[in-house]
């Protein structure tokens, strides 16, 4: 009967899916039996006791035994099904502590994801196989609902609140996810791809830091340049807490006009602020400290993805 | 109760009791008609209570959401602010409505005992008390308007204790205006109904054998009163 399940349900992408499908198929067969218990007598009686003029029907008013029987038996059946459903649902409701946490921000009509390391993607996520993933979700505008049919999970996303779902993907490859709570015009277009990777592929994906940056480097959209990506990174990574871009002094030197100029260092020497200098200042900030500033900057080695560093360089270049 | 054959084409000429012009044809007796009307009125009042009930539940949930803001707004309603004694309005109106309930009872009693003049007198007093209630309400509302203690997007109170921009205050006053406003509309409707009763009473419609409208409006008026009895502590006493 596997073909029947495969016809009625999406592919199974998680352990949870297998459990759900088992309950689903059990309920399906139970329903078929119960349906036949109603439909067959109805049709049989309609034929067996079809109208004959003058037939006198018996005066049966009730039968207490039967009434009790067909109240109590379904009740017991229902109690059983309830606990079965509850059992499966408890696994869905409580995420294991070691789960990787991905934040989801839904808005009309796209999905934004953020990984624990700050990498962000839109409508496209990769998760490692056989490891639990937890999604912490909120909405920027109206209700949405994160639905991954292959994993058999969904939950509403509510503005001003955080809701969660989790699952452990077990099947490599692409799975669809989609919005299941009506959210306006492009509700049905609010979907994306969830790719389950093996550990090596996932590590490679994380190395690139999502997909958002790609838009800024392919030149398709003149409004999105590498420098724009650098500006986003400048704010997102927190460069802006010490460096200004308008020439005013903060905890660190301003970035305005620095690129291409000679910078005086606190050891009395000067250095040309070229790309090498800028990159070195990010990854090894104590190597060359600008005159008049304390050596307080932490290293960003390992925190900045290559694309973010590239973006920052382009951004600093653009600040004439 | 008639179990004998009744000729429907000559309805209104029942042989077994005196004909009353207000007897509707589909009721067997005036008692049945009165009981039915009363049952209908009680059902209607149940829907009224549920209507207000929804607002009470909403108020409770929002109070749970914004406990601090709601308590501060409560305090504001209770306290002397800028020389105005706000809670006095609530207390005064409670007294006014309680007395009006009593005059309404006296009116129903007058109708039951065929005292037409007394009925008219008590109905008019009830109307006057309802008007006093609305005047006090008007004064109270105008203070709120002056202080920009208004619902939702109109909230713009500037004093230091209830600052604009905090959702809780605006929501509190939204509920304040919705609940007291809906109640006020009911008082207005009550005045209309009472005036209609006065008109009919003066015409001599009501007798001890037919006073259903007086009784029903009386029930309505008591419910309006009872709802206020719950609104008053909710807004002016609880902290």
């Amino acid at each position: 009967m596997d073909w029947l399940r495969a016809w009625m349900m999406p592919p199974q992408g998680s352990e949870f899916a297998k459990e759900i499908d088992f309950v689903y198929m059990a309920l399906f067969w139970l329903s078929v039996v119960l349906f036949l218990m109603i439909a067959v007598p109805a049709c049989y009686f309609a034929w067996r006791y079809r109208y004959k003029p003058g037939r006198v029907t018996p005066h049966q008013t009730h039968n207490t035994t039967l009434e009790v029987l067909w109240s109590v038996l379904p009740l017991m059946l229902c109690i059983g099904i309830f606990f079965w459903g509850l059992n499966g649902w408890m696994k869905y409701a409580v995420a294991p502590g070691e789960a990787m946490e991905i934040s989801v921000t839904a808005k009309q009509w796209l999905w934004q994801f953020e990984y624990p390391d700050g990498s962000r993607t839109i409508n496209d996520i990769h998760v490692p196989v056989n490891k639990p993933v937890k999604f912490t979700m909120t909405s920027e505008d109206v209700l949405h609902d994160f639905f991954v049919p292959d994993m058999r999970v969904k939950h509403d996303i509510i503005p001003g609140r955080y809701t969660q779902i989790w699952f452990t993907p077990t099947v490599l490859g692409e799975h669809n996810f989609t919005c299941a709570e009506y959210c306006g015009k492009d509700h049905s277009g609010m979907k994306g791809k969830l790719t389950v990777d093996n550990d090596a592929d996932f590590a490679k994906w994380m190395e690139t830091g999502g997909t958002e940056w790609e838009d800024y480097f392919n030149g398709k959209d003149p409004k999105k340049t590498p420098a724009d990506w650098g500006k986003i990174t400048y704010e997102r990574v927190g460069c802006n807490s010490c460096h200004t871009v308008d020439g005013s002094k903060s905890k660190g030197p301003s970035w305005k006009g620095v690129y291409g100029s000679m910078v005086e260092l606190n050891n009395g020497t000067s250095v040309l602020a070229d790309e090498n200098y800028v990159r070195e200042s990010m990854m090894n900030p104590q190597a060359k400290v600008v005159k008049g500033f304390d050596p307080i900057m932490p290293t960003f080695q390992g925190l900045l993805k290559p694309n973010q560093a590239n973006g920052l360089v382009a951004y600093i270049q653009s600040l004439k | 109760m008639s179990t004998t054959t009744t000729d429907v084409h000559s309805h209104g000429e029942h042989g077994d009791h005196e004909h009353n012009p207000y007897h509707q044809h589909h009721f067997a007796t005036m008692e049945q008609q009165f009981d039915t009307s009363k049952l209908g009125m009680w059902l209607f009042l149940a829907t009224e209570i549920l209507l207000f009930g929804g607002l009470f539940v909403g108020f409770g949930l929002m109070q749970h959401r914004y406990p601090r803001e709601f308590i501060e707004a409560h305090e504001h309603l209770k306290q002397l602010v800028a020389g105005q004694l706000f809670p006095l309005y609530g207390a005064l109106n409670t007294m006014v409505l309680l007395v009006s309930s009593w005059t309404m009872v006296m009116g129903v009693n007058a109708a039951q005992t065929d005292q037409k003049k007394k009925l008219v007198r008590y109905l008019v007093i009830t109307i006057l008390l309802a008007c006093v209630f609305l005047v006090v309400k008007y004064v109270e509302y105008s203070h709120k308007f002056n202080d920009h203690l208004l619902p939702g997007m109109f909230y713009g109170h500037q004093s230091e204790d209830l600052i604009k921009g905090t959702h809780g205050y605006a929501t509190f006053f939204a509920f304040y205006f919705m609940m007291t406003g809906l109640h006020g509309i009911h008082v207005l409707v009550g005045i209309g109904l009472l005036s209609w009763l006065v008109m009919r009473a003066r015409r001599g419609d009501f007798t001890s054998s037919y006073y259903t409208p007086v009784d029903l409006v009386g029930l309505y008026w008591h419910i309006v009163d009872v709802i206020w009895i719950y609104l008053f502590p909710l807004y002016y006493l609880i902290s």
Binding site: T57, H62, P149, H187 | V8, G152
Partner: protein, 549 residues
């Protein structure tokens, strides 16, 4: 054709009275100002069937749009906005203008006073007021479509409904007005059942239709005010931003869902209980057998009405209510299965050893048994927590509630309409075409909605304009099914209207029914009964006459 009439309290051989409620007075004004429950019932019937037609057109447009992934309608491109309006208007019209008011307003208004031997409902003028409130609500709803657009879905979920443009406020105001129409109808029926029963008719002498409609009326009176206040809050949130449902101004969107479903789940029972009530009349009449388990069916109606108030949270298993609430609501939801099952088993037992003729109303009744079974059984999938997570908000839910709302309630409504049509109009509709339409209805309905279960379990969310290519064959199948439904209804409309053109030919009791409405003439006289009817026997007593007394 041969008409199968036996048993029961048939009083059929009287001469037809010249004057009846239809021809006693004439002219538009005599109808517009009538307080006769029968005329109001007819007006309600015409009005709600017009709404059904309008809602049905939107349903066909929705299905037609989904026929192919290109979304063309007679060569025109349908945009996502247009599609969203289609399904919103389909839902809102069907729920608020058709299913909720139809059986109470039309059939019940007509037959309930007759069934309990009353001359009218308790408050005839309130009854007329209820009808005119329906008209006002309908005009407002139609105006909201004509002067603007509503694209919120019939559930008006916040914060989409508080922020979207269009005429949502007018539409919610329309539903508010319709709510009061519903309250007045329910209030009237409660008072009527309590106070106007014929001499000698105790509570357990009432027909089961009256029990069902009494239970319905209780829900109408107790649940609808909450919807009223919810819609007022929604309108104020839209207009004044009071900060209760929209999180941007400090509200809670989930609170709206609680408020909404606190009404709208009981409203589901306002829709289904009348259907169950009609079937409880059709089965014993066409089986010519004493109702089996009369009291069990009566009690099950009341218990369904009570249960309807405590299961609203099962609409919100994945909507952000507390997990404890989710578990409790799931457990309570299963209780609904018990009284529903009790009804079905008692109906089957009534058919057992009966004398069953398959005239049009009985065909609809048997269709009902099967469709209601499917609707109920698929409810188990949705009440079960673990499977609900996957199935909720998909086409599985769409199919499930159409099996209950349409497959059950509308099937029962059409069956009841055929059952009481001779009483209402004095004419027998074509039996041949009636059976054709009934069979087409059953086929068309299953063709439309069975595929939607599969669509849903395979992961097709509801309210979707676009869908994955793999779903196309099932969508196409479903769309073709909707045409069969349309054809069936079109045939029904045709022969029902055609029956009005012939002279009155219906006997007083064409089906051999035992309830009191069959004791008066067809169509009834204005004051319902020549003589105040006296209860002679229990309802559904099909023993030969001599034995009963």
């Amino acid at each position: 054709m041969e008409r199968a009439v036996t048993g029961g309290a048939r009083i059929g051989d009287r001469p037809r009275p010249k004057k009846n409620y239809l021809n006693e007075t004439k002219g538009f004004w005599s109808w517009a100002s009538t307080v006769d429950h029968k005329r109001i019932g007819i007006m309600y019937l015409v009005a709600t069937l017009t709404a059904f037609l309008l809602g049905g057109i939107f349903a066909l447009l929705v299905r037609l749009t989904l026929l192919t992934p290109q979304h063309t309608l007679f060569g025109l491109q349908v945009t996502a906005e247009t599609y969203n309006r289609f399904f919103t208007l389909h839902g809102a019209i069907m729920v608020f203008l058709f299913i909720i008011p139809s059986i109470p307003g039309s059939l019940t208004n007509f037959v309930l006073p007759l069934m309990i031997g009353a001359k009218d409902v308790a408050f005839p003028r309130l009854n007329l007021a209820s009808f005119y409130l329906w008209i006002v609500g309908a005009v407002m709803a139609v105006a909201s479509m004509v002067i603007g657009a509503v694209d919120t879905g019939w559930t008006f979920y916040t914060p989409y409904s508080t922020t979207t443009s269009g005429t949502v406020t007018l539409m919610t105001a329309a539903v508010f007005v319709l709510g009061f129409s519903s309250i007045f109808t329910g209030l009237n029926f409660i008072a009527t059942v309590h106070k106007l029963r014929a001499p000698g008719m105790g509570w357990f002498d009432m027909p089961l239709f009256v029990w069902g409609m009494y239970s319905t009326a209780v829900i109408q009176v107790l649940a609808t005010p909450v919807l009223g206040i919810t819609l007022v809050l929604l309108m104020l949130e839209r207009v004044f931003q009071i900060g209760i449902f929209d999180s941007r101004i400090g509200g809670d969107p989930v609170l709206f869902q609680h408020f909404f479903w606190f009404y709208s789940h009981p409203a589901v029972y306002i829709m289904i209980l009348p259907g169950l009530a009609i079937i409880s009349e059709l089965i014993p009449t066409f089986s010519r057998k004493t109702m089996f388990g009369y009291r069990a069916i009566a009690y099950s109606s009341v218990s369904l009405a009570l249960l309807s108030f405590i299961v609203w949270g099962h609409h919100m298993f994945v909507a952000g209510q507390s997990q404890l609430a989710t578990v409790i609501f799931s457990a309570l939801t299963f209780l609904v299965a018990i009284p529903s099952g009790v009804k079905v088993f008692n109906w089957l037992s009534t058919m057992y050893m009966g004398n069953i003729s398959l005239e049009t109303p009985m065909l609809y009744a048997i269709s009902f048994l099967m469709l209601f079974a499917i609707g109920g059984l698929t409810g188990i999938f949705l009440g079960t927590l673990s499977t609900d997570v996957h199935l909720t908000d998909t086409y599985f839910v769409v199919a499930h509630f159409h099996y209950v709302m349409m497959g059950s309630t509308v099937t029962a409504f059409i069956g009841g309409l055929h059952y009481w049509w001779p009483k209402m109009t004095g004419r027998m509709p074509s039996e041949k075409w009636g059976r054709v339409a009934a069979i087409l209805w059953f086929i068309g309905f299953n063709a439309t909605f069975l595929p939607q279960f599969i669509l849903g379990s395979r992961g097709m969310p509801r309210r979707y304009y676009n869908y994955l290519d793999q779903f196309q064959p099932l969508h196409a199948f479903s769309t073709v099914g909707s045409w069969i439904i349309g054809l069936s209804l079109f045939i029904s409309l045709g022969y029902l209207l055609a029956s009005l053109r012939k002279p009155a030919d219906a006997p007083d009791n064409p089906w051999g029914g035992t309830t009191m409405e069959w004791q008066t003439s067809s169509p009834p006289i204005t004051h319902n009964f020549e003589d105040t009817p006296v209860l002679e026997h229990e309802p559904y007593d099909y023993r030969p006459k001599a034995v009963t007394h």
